[in-house]
């Protein structure tokens, strides 16, 4: 009897330990379920931080899904505000939601954005047999009949993926952007599946989500939303060179609690810089369709403030917020 009891208790104790993790190691919170970009950020950066001896212990990744990152944000602000061993994965989605007041009144200045070390370029994609050959074809078709093209994307309506085609259309002189059809599906791969299947006419997402389908020839990328063409994908034109001045990249980075000291903040910035400079990270970026994009420390915080101001303005224009 006692033996059985110990077995049952032992099992739960082991599982409990694994689930809650150790308290002394660096913790990286991925504010989403495993499998998405934030999880990727935590796991890859976490692994490199340890491999490059920037931290003494393997980084513990905690998945804290909820409210598009809002649950984790709230948790960091209210419970871990002065924890120097905590990093949290963030991306354009984080700032988009903060700008749209989607985190129940919490604002971007309640944490410190410590750096981004790579960016996933935004793309506009069609199936291989689509009649649209250029971005212009697509934009003109929508101008002629806004209902004729539906976009599928991995983020919720009003989210970053939704905004990308709207920005392009605005740049092309189309103002009635509320008429543009967009459906939110479960991630970029699902959005591509819907587009290849002909249920939607175009997909909007991040470049990394499209690589496999691009190489297999199932899709064509009409435009990449960067300043210059992405290294390794030199035959894909930018929206800019097609006459639509839109740059939208999904940066991959981290924020840290507001209450840590400047020294601690700068230490994290240096560690991130070390990861960004490593050959391993460059390889990971190349393998995953990320473009170089490194901004750390105070520079990054300034840049973020500008992005949030822009997003707020855009969101008001398309009516996501008043």
């Amino acid at each position: 009897m006692t033996f059985k009891l110990f077995k049952a208790l032992g099992t739960s104790a082991v599982i409990g330990l694994m689930a809650t993790g150790s308290v002394w190691a660096t913790e990286c919170i991925a504010p989403a379920n495993p499998g998405g970009g934030w999880d990727f950020t935590c796991r890859q950066i976490g692994k490199l931080l340890y491999d490059l001896k920037q931290v003494d212990q393997p980084v513990q990744v905690t998945n804290m899904a909820g409210a598009g990152g809002g649950v984790a944000y709230n948790y960091v602000v209210t419970e871990r505000n002065d924890d120097p061993d905590l990093i949290v994965a963030a991306s354009s989605a984080t700032t988009t939601r903060l700008a749209q007041n989607a985190f129940a009144g919490m604002t971007a200045d309640q944490v410190r954005f410590v750096g981004a070390i790579g960016a996933d370029p935004g793309v506009i994609v069609v199936a291989k047999d689509s009649p649209f050959q250029t971005l212009k074809d697509l934009v003109e078709a929508i101008k002629a009949d806004p209902g004729s093209v539906a976009f599928a994307g991995g983020s919720a309506a009003g989210g970053f993926d939704h905004m990308k085609p709207l920005q392009v259309l605005q740049a092309g002189g189309f103002t009635d952007i509320r008429k543009v059809k967009y459906i939110a599906v479960d991630g970029g791969a699902d959005a591509i599946t819907q587009t290849i299947g002909g249920h939607t006419q175009a997909m909007t997402g991040d470049m990394s989500e499209t690589i496999g389908f691009l190489k297999s020839g199932d899709i064509r990328i009409l435009a990449v939303l960067t300043d210059e063409r992405v290294p390794g994908f030199d035959d894909i034109p930018t929206a800019k060179e097609q006459g639509y001045d839109v740059v939208a990249v999904n940066w991959r980075g981290l924020y840290v609690p507001k209450g840590i000291s400047d020294d601690q903040f700068n230490a994290w910035a240096e560690k991130l810089q070390a990861v960004a400079d490593s050959a391993e990270w460059k390889q990971i970026m190349a393998d995953n369709g990320l473009a170089p994009f490194t901004k750390v420390g105070a520079d990054f915080q300034t840049w973020i403030d500008g992005v949030i101001a822009d997003t707020t303005e855009m969101s008001k224009e398309i009516g996501v917020i008043q």
């Binding site: 009897m1 739960s12 599982i15 649950v71």
Partner: protein
């Protein structure tokens, strides 16, 4: 022939003493994780990922360990469904319907062995399907747009009425409660409307499925036990001598095959997953079986069908994950994360680019299946021992594990409060003799169904005819209408004698 050459490559990668050892460990851990309420395959795999990295496993080894855990959990879920009437994980919900009545009538051993064999048949066939046809099958996913998915979920709801036999109205109420819970959260189709969240961020994403299931089944059971001082409680079913019920296995042979096919197809469709697979398999068998009336009272076919179905769906869910990078279920989403962390990007080219990984994985699945068959049939007692501790030990244990498991989902105490609320709700529902399974199905399918309908309406500018515009939709609609009407019609025609009240073991 290519397939055999590839498979040989796979086995050459997978068959090393160390990977075999990992597969055995994974199967064992997986079965335990599956059997424990509150810990399902998704959080089981997620919990073990850091372990896989910290002991420095390479891609094949990590996959061997974690897919063994995945398959193991799919097997293990049935154990607590049958012995405790508490599903070990969500796909095992359907197994409670006949598995527990069987156990209650003294056939726990038979139910466990039969479901073990059914699990094996389901996942073995699914693994063959994955090996032979994965790239081809991926095309099925292209055919399903919002309209087709809506029709599919509608089909599931239309057959729901036949589920709980005794009182249709109460099943309908239960399903509606589930649907009501499903609308909680941010409206994904406009991204701004908050529904019934009362300003609480934790409710923005809606109610986690596992929270509901653990509350409704496990905690409600604990409350019942306390109230009745153990009399009439599900806990404490004794396992007699385990023999192999050859007759039952032979009799449900075709059931397993049919259920495997249905489950596999449900698994291949992203979004539907193992729960829908086991549900559809069960309902299909119930409607075609001559003794369909005895489903829900301990019919062996009612045990074989959902278990073959959910294990086949687990294999099927790997198809879109590997070939499209679209995870069809929570667990495959976690496995996808693992692959990406290993710098393997699933997608249309994975089979060409990384045959060693894909075929090594498939070979591992075959090995894991054999290991699991051995563990779950001759050696099933080991796992039963874990659940066979006296109730005064087991119940606090179940409660403890439920809390730990649910906390590991999102690391938030809010889910724990939700779980307790569901436990109280489940207790009240059981007092009112309202079945719990339709509640779960309502929560699970309601979300998907609403989203599919909303997306379809966005695409068609609100034109309803879009819902019947493709051949697949039409077939599903016809099946749904038949599924709804046929039971009403047949019930009048056949005039079977009413079942004795005591035979209904699903809710009381």
């Amino acid at each position: 022939m290519d397939t055999f050459a590839n498979l040989a490559l796979g086995f050459s990668v997978a068959v090393t003493p160390f990977t075999l050892f990992l597969a055995v460990v994974g199967c064992f851990l997986g079965t335990i994780i599956g059997a424990l309420p509150g810990l399902g395959p998704a959080n089981g795999v997620a919990i073990l990922i850091p372990l896989a990295f910290s002991i420095g496993l390479d891609a094949t080894q990590a996959l061997a360990l974690l897919t063994s855990v995945y398959y193991g959990a799919m097997y293990g879920g049935r154990i607590s469904s049958i012995l405790l009437n508490i599903p070990g994980d969500e796909p095992a919900v359907m197994t409670t319907l006949d598995g527990y009545p069987m156990a209650k009538s003294g056939r726990a051993g038979d139910a466990l062995v039969l479901s073990g064999v059914a699990s094996f048949v389901g996942s073995f066939l699914a693994t063959i399907g994955l090996a032979l046809m994965a790239p081809l099958l991926a095309r099925i996913a292209y055919l399903f747009g919002p309209a087709e998915y809506f029709a599919l979920y509608l089909l599931a709801f239309c057959t729901l009425g036949g589920l709980a036999g005794k009182n249709q109205a109460k099943s309908a109420v239960a399903a509606l409660i589930g649907l009501g819970v499903a609308v909680i959260g941010i409206d994904p189709n406009n991204g701004t409307t908050l529904r019934y969240t009362f300003g609480n961020l934790h409710l923005n994403d809606g109610i986690n499925f596992l929270v509901a299931i653990v509350g409704l089944f496990a905690l409600a059971e604990v409350f019942f036990f306390i109230e009745s001082h153990g009399k009439d409680s599900a806990v404490g079913v004794k396992l007699g001598k385990v023999t192999i019920p050859v007759r039952d296995i032979v009799k449900s042979g075709w059931t397993m095959l049919r259920a495997s096919v249905i489950g596999f197809v449900a698994g291949v469709l992203p979004g539907a997953g193992a729960s829908l697979g086991s549900f559809m398999s069960y309902m299909a068998e119930k409607s075609i079986a001559r003794d369909g009336d005895t489903f829900g009272t301990g019919n062996p076919k009612g045990v074989a069908a959902p278990e073959a179905g959910n294990n086949a769906a687990a294999g099927g869910a790997l198809v879109p994950m590997l070939t499209l990078g679209v995870p069809g279920s929570g667990t495959t989403a976690v496995l996808l994360a693992l692959l990406m962390t290993l710098n393997i990007t699933p997608g249309p080219l994975l089979f060409q680019d990384r045959p060693d990984v894909v075929w090594g994985l498939i070979a591992t699945l075959f090995i894991a299946n054999l290991v699991l068959l051995v563990m779950n049939v001759p050696m099933v007692r080991i796992f039963v021992y874990i659940l066979a501790v006296p109730p005064w030990v087991l119940l606090p244990g179940v409660t403890l594990i439920s809390f730990v498991g649910v906390y590991s989902l999102s690391g938030s105490y809010f889910d724990l409060l939700m779980m307790v609320a569901f436990g109280i709700g489940g207790y009240i529902l059981r007092k009112l003799e309202i079945p719990l399974v339709p509640v779960i199905l309502g929560i699970l399918l309601g979300n998907h169904m609403e989203n599919s309908l909303r997306k379809a309406m966005v695409l068609s500018d609100g034109d309803w005819t879009y819902l019947f515009a493709s051949p697949i939709s039409i077939i599903l609609w016809v099946a749904a209408i038949l599924g709804f009407i046929a039971p009403l019609f047949l019930r009048g025609r056949l005039k079977r004698p009413p079942l004795p009240e005591s035979a209904d073991g699903t809710v009381d």
